[in-house]
Symmetry: C2
Subunit: 365 residues, 2 copies
């Protein structure tokens, strides 16, 4: 087991990483001992890992039996109405400002439960127990919480840091392969954006990650969380450097939206978006062609597509990226690569390079 | 005009106080220039002060015509559903993270609009333009935002500091007398809790406040806001000293709840609660009887009741304060007075003094 500290002054918190972490009461005691606790989970994860968590909460000395709130699975429940249901349950159980929430599940559960914690009686402490690779390396670090609105994803929310994150790599053993690959896209992202050594490590050890070797998983998660924690500590409110975390995301969001939410997993779209960013960077002369090829190769080995779907032609892609006639290109900012491990945000990109990149779809490739 | 700065590090903000402040574009320019702005107000205040505000926003150089969101008047609309309606309007108008909200109205409007600002795209900046005395001296300072839940008042919310507060004393000229008196209760509270000089000033100048003299109002508001700002700066998240702001509130909440929400204004109940706290403090030997009499006299001169209504006997009062058989008295904490200007939070109070205080209702007095 390893502990990584996210340095945010009085809002600093530890991330515990390793096999069996969710069974270790010590991970929970500092935040939960003597407190009333609500566990927010979903109908898929709750039955798999609920009992293990229940036992460690008891061993951590929580007050009373935890209040168990099991949401239906799926992003369609990531709404203000679900948050209100959670708040009602907390009020009915007379939870006060000293009570705590534990989020057990993937990114959707963490975002919902974290937001409920952010606005219950103006904020109560919470602990993240992320069970998917994507949530472990991305959404559990950084304090973004929130829900969707019918008019847009993640449009309602707060910055609310957890008091602890407990990452149990055992929970990845039951993760569907497709979700593992989607999570690997975000892992690769950290190497590409700011850590060339980690990128090289991933080239060497990707097969161990795909084989779910606990030691390799723990290392990759720790490095990913360390990268993200460093960026978040430098820019908690996303005014500058944090934008680099969006590497691959502008292209990726266009794919997700264009194909209909749910058709592509977020991580799958980000993987393809990163390959596109790498090719575009090479076209602009920012990135050596050999390095772009290394990026593409690693994304491909992780089982992710490197070209966007043929259904999305360049005109539609531009529309989805918000570049229509009413918006000058100058307003769009893209995260591109100056090298492996060296992402840069720019509004000053070559539109021809963009056009070429959008023209190459899975059909053309 | 005067400017008071609330010192909260990077979240510091100015409070502008004086007659005609809402007509001065300079109060708004630093936060709103070049920005898209939504004005949240209600159907009572909007028609009275909307045009004046609209003119100063235009002069402050906001981008586009403001989005005007007029809520129905009344606390019954202080709900998550109303916040969701505001968020929908903002999304329909494609407001982004650089857009701003201006809250024009009393405490209810400020709490709702501030909470919408807190959770729209994880937080956008907002400006408070409070139009009631209560909102000017209390809810506009300190960053508490939120709405009611059917199971409890202010149970859903965030701490979200405004970027500026603009207090136009002209808006008090049209305030109903009853609301003026309710606001004076909170003004008197600051003197009682921590500022003996201000208390003495109020004894001397209360009639000028009741006559709505602009200069006296501006002074009383400035001193009140300065008291609150000092407390908030020392304890932004309400873990310690901020609790002293609840002087008169534990008794007051019991009256509000016991008489049915809306029957007593919040400030009216706080005024009575402070008189009760003063008498109880004197009974415990904490406060000189002459000082308790001065406190009662000032509250009375402000047009506020100094005894609780006869309908609430001591048993019912205890129940409303949460002191039933299941909860030991030790758990209740009360803010009492060690002197004029010297409030103290204590769980170690004399239950006989409490019983005596509860026994004296308006009928008995």
């Amino acid at each position: 087991m390893e502990i990584l500290n996210v340095e945010l002054g009085e809002r600093s918190y530890p991330i515990h990483i390793g096999p069996g972490e969710a069974a270790r009461a010590e991970c929970f005691t500092p935040v939960l001992e003597g407190r009333r606790v609500a566990v927010v989970t979903n109908s898929t994860v709750g039955p798999l890992y609920g009992e293990r968590l229940r036992a460690s909460l008891a061993a951590a000395g929580v007050r009373d039996e935890p209040l168990w709130i099991e949401l239906p699975d799926g992003e369609s429940h990531k709404s203000l109405a679900t948050v209100e249901q959670i708040l009602t349950r907390l009020l009915e159980a007379r939870f006060d400002r000293g009570s705590r929430i534990v989020a057990l599940g993937g990114g959707v559960v963490g975002d919902i439960a974290g937001f409920a914690a952010a606005i219950y009686q103006r904020g109560i402490h919470f602990v993240q127990v992320p069970t998917t690779l994507l949530a472990q390396v991305d959404s559990s670090v950084g304090g973004k919480t929130g829900v969707n609105h019918p008019l847009g994803k993640n449009m309602i929310g707060s910055f609310h840091q957890p008091r602890a994150v407990v990452i149990d790599t055992d929970s990845l053993q039951s993760l569907p392969t497709r979700e593992l690959r989607a999570g690997l896209a975000e892992v690769i992202k950290y190497g590409l954006m700011q850590d060339a050594d980690f990128f090289a490590w991933l080239e060497e050890h990707l097969d161990r990650l795909l084989a779910l070797e606990p030691e390799a998983l723990a290392h990759a998660i720790r490095r990913s969380c360390a990268c993200k924690a460093e960026v978040v500590a430098a820019d908690e409110r996303e005014s500058g450097r944090r934008a680099l975390l969006n590497l691959g995301h502008t292209f990726g969001h266009a794919i997700e939206t264009g194909m209909g939410y749910g058709a592509w997993l977020h991580g799958e779209a980000v993987g393809t978006g990163m390959a596109m960013a790498a090719r575009m960077s090479a076209r602009m002369g920012w990135l050596a062609p050999a390095d772009a090829a290394r990026a593409e190769a690693l994304i491909h080995r992780a089982g992710l597509d490197t070209y966007p779907p043929a259904e999305l032609d360049a005109a539609r892609f531009r529309e989805l990226m918000g570049i229509d006639k009413k918006v000058s290109e100058g307003r769009l900012r893209l995260v591109l690569l100056r090298g492996l491990g060296a992402a840069e945000l720019t509004a000053d990109f070559d539109d021809n390079a963009l056009q070429h990149t959008l023209d190459e779809t899975a059909r053309a490739a």
